[in-house]
Assembly symmetry: C2
Homo-oligomer: 494 residues x 2
């Protein structure tokens, strides 16, 4: 393989020195940079966490691999951003929590440390124009103390957890009530199990924080499967683990930023990671596959497609996909989200006894976190703009989003939030190589009609990506798990 003719990943140190790419910067592949036909045991499409994990496992098993990545960076839905201070903040997936053992083990192997997400002091609950401080260490945990809704939301959450415990994580469509649950939206279920506007609001805002989708977009069965998968082989999933910081999926962060995990894997793989190589076509031939990208054609014995399902649909397959796989990818859409980070000389809210976490009914930013780096400076507030709010602003200019987001931050944390030293954002819906985040979700009927096609290999084509995982779907841990599973499949088949 001729590394000279290609743009390859140059390793973590070089990437850090050059600055981390920002969304939308993916450049066209340089004209003329078309290597001759190449060969590998396995081609992996997508240098996100799932694809890189797959390639790493295969490489460690002695197989030759080539990772083809459409962007000019690795990481996929993980995206680091270098601040003016030289610190890194995250504009994509960033958290790790209890039971997420696979990402934890991987990070440890790669010598990427973790630290506790800042979770000291009060949370802010902002609703109907009233700002309330509350402690997330009370009996309700992170559920805001809505005077009418908190108790109701708590009861609903327990019922959802009970239902989720009846959903097989590897085959949700086999749940005893699968037909009933996949025939209704989560919105319908919420309406039928709550009476108060407060209770409904709390369930809606939690849904948007988890899926970046409205409750109406989601199948109840898909939500229950997602809850069931928020655990591991020993500890069944539950909602608390999805929504909590301490004790939950947002408990820890990575020292230096989550992007170190894919960057260090890519550095290990060296010139086996090819950037600027969007794959356009996969041809299955009798003894292998030919993978055609903008950077040339590679022949392999197996291929692992590790991109989100709606983007996998945009590759041309020859022979064509079976109907189940094709129609699956017509109805497994990405959530809608913009992530914003404002930085300040210091995390001023901490001195006020605030954790930097807010839950609000006033958009566009309705959920926030303290995103300050490990060394405590600069102070960083992170906010999610999700679902309908994200869609409404997908065409807005950055100045508008900045103004509205900072207004939200100021409402929750005080007027100092209006004057950040830096304001950055990632607009995932507009990013051509994600087209939404954090994850593809199931509308009603997806799992009953097409569930098995999510992971079922098609000839020599295997599927990875957090959507295919049976635990922690939608999270870093799910991506790593999917890479392990895809690599096992391929090794068995080779």
């Amino acid at each position: 393989m001729s590394a000279l003719s290609r743009r390859v990943f140059l390793g973590s140190a070089a990437a850090t020195a050059a600055g981390v790419a920002t969304p939308g910067s993916a450049a066209a592949h340089p004209a003329g940079n078309k290597p001759a036909d190449d060969r590998a045991d396995v081609v992996v499409i997508g240098a996100g966490l799932a694809g890189l994990t797959t390639a790493r496992e295969l490489s460690r098993a002695g197989r030759s691999v080539l990772v083809l990545e459409a962007r000019d960076r690795v990481g996929g839905r993980i995206l680091g951003h270098r601040l003016g201070t030289g610190d890194t903040t995250e504009l994509g997936a960033e958290f790790i929590g209890p039971t997420q053992d696979r990402i934890a083990a991987l990070a440890a192997e790669l010598d990427v440390g973790t630290y506790r997400t800042y979770d000291t002091g009060d949370y802010v609950y902002y609703r109907d124009g009233q700002r309330t401080r509350y402690s997330a260490s009370g009996p309700l945990g992170p559920i805001p103390p809505d005077p009418t809704g908190a108790a109701e939301a708590g009861v609903a959450i327990q019922l959802l957890n009970e239902h989720a415990s009846q959903v097989p994580v590897d085959a949700p469509w086999q749940a005893g009530n699968a037909e009933e649950w996949d025939s209704q939206t989560f919105h319908t279920w919420i309406q039928q199990h709550t009476q108060t506007e407060g209770g409904r609001f709390l369930l809606h805002v939690a849904t948007k924080a988890i899926f970046s989708a409205e409750p109406r977009d989601l199948s109840l069965l898909y939500v229950l499967a997602y809850i069931a998968r928020a655990g591991n082989e020993n500890q069944p999933g539950n909602i608390e683990r999805l929504v909590s910081t301490t004790g939950g999926a947002q408990m820890y962060r990575f020292i230096g930023g989550s992007q170190l995990v894919p960057e260090r894997m890519a550095a290990e793989l060296g010139d086996r990671v090819q950037l600027d190589a969007p794959v356009r076509r996969i041809v299955q031939v009798p003894d292998g596959v030919r993978v055609v990208s903008d950077a040339g054609t590679v022949t392999a014995r197996r291929v692992v497609v590790a991109v989100p399902p709606p983007l996998a649909a945009r590759i041309t397959y020859d022979p064509p996909m079976p109907a189940a796989r094709d129609q699956l990818t017509q109805r497994f859409p990405m959530g809608s989200v913009t992530k914003v980070v404002a930085t300040y000389p210091e995390p001023f809210w901490r001195a006020d006894g605030l954790a930097g976490q807010a839950v609000s009914d006033t958009g566009p930013v309705q959920v926030t976190f303290d995103n300050t780096p490990h060394d405590g400076a600069p102070g960083a507030l992170m906010g999610f703009i999700e679902a309908d709010h994200a869609r409404a602003l997908d065409d807005a200019d950055v100045a508008t989003i900045r103004r509205e987001a900072l207004h939200n931050f100021a409402t929750y944390f005080g007027p100092r939030a209006l004057e950040p030293t830096d304001f950055v954002l990632s607009r995932w819906d507009n990013d051509v190589w994600s087209r939404g985040c954090p994850v593809a979700f199931g509308p009603p009927g997806l799992l009953l009609g097409y569930g098995p096609a999510i992971r079922q290999p098609v000839g020599r084509i295997h599927w990875a990506g957090t959507e295919t995982s049976t635990y922690w779907t939608g999270y870093l841990d799910g991506a790593v798990r999917s890479g392990h599973r895809a690599a096992r499949e391929v090794l068995t088949a080779l």
Copy 2:
């Protein structure tokens, strides 16, 4: 334009002589057949009814057009099939009915005649192992006389019609109850408005017959919009018109087959229809568009994309689509359907006083029609395999489908159905240039989240196709209407 270097449509007579193509026969584009850059005022992508209508209107207005079609035939979801007798039967869209004025006018201009769909005699209702004959000219119309369900279904239908009357056909998301209606599945609505299994069955089977989707797959608002659109500017839509033969959307057929309409349009356009030319990329440049297909590149001032939304998503756009349009196409999937036609020396069921129409709870074929050609022979029974039943058989061999379909036909019409002279089928889910039929449908949240993006032009790119129509979405008439509207848009913009 060099017609010699291309495979172009040769006109109706030639196509008839050569036999009409069957699904799956689309051949790869011959190597080396790559014309140099070409030019037209407008490129139309897709030679289905919408695309051809667009091109015809533009051409009649004096504009130069080029239609790029991926298949080796025109017609899209319209598909004629030449029987051994020399007669033609239809394996795709075939019906026309009252208020479908645009397709009627077009057929008349093209000198394609119509005739009444055979609708004389009794219908068959088969449920719980009981076969019942009934008259569709009774007070319930085509609703089967289910002893417990018919009255209930009738009440539900009236309520749906009332709701539909409140839905603006051009902006369903502006209905007063849009949020409530787009937040639930049609399944949920049926459950809440029926008590009997019979009533539920009738509404479910009607849903599948209309959308080739399960009620769980569909947004209630989308169903109501579809009902509202089953009419024209003077006659509001209603369910009766969707489901009825006499008086409804299945009232008439085309003498010689519905494929004559696109074939005659293509013959008019001559070498302005390019077959075997799947479009891969659309590049918007300052003064026009470049359309890149497997048959070469064409430069134009405007482009009209007249393919189903999930397939439009598979074209690469440069610059990329706005998020709303992109995410729309991630969640606007095609229905699932296989259409079967069995032929016999004569339509033997007619002598038994049967219309050839059945409604059944026993699959795979649960809805049938008499598909006999205009001259009365050969006798043809047509059956729909829809939604879950279609999905279950998408990978089955033809022998299995034939056996199961003929068993259904025999149950409804007697044992002579077991010995057809011919048995043909079209497996739309497996067809790479449709990937489902009859139409893309809206799951919950589609219209509220993305409705305007269905028709909104993006720069120099316009959208046609029956999905974009404000009347008779999903029908031939909607396709023609969309072509008229797209042509008007382009003429205004040019």
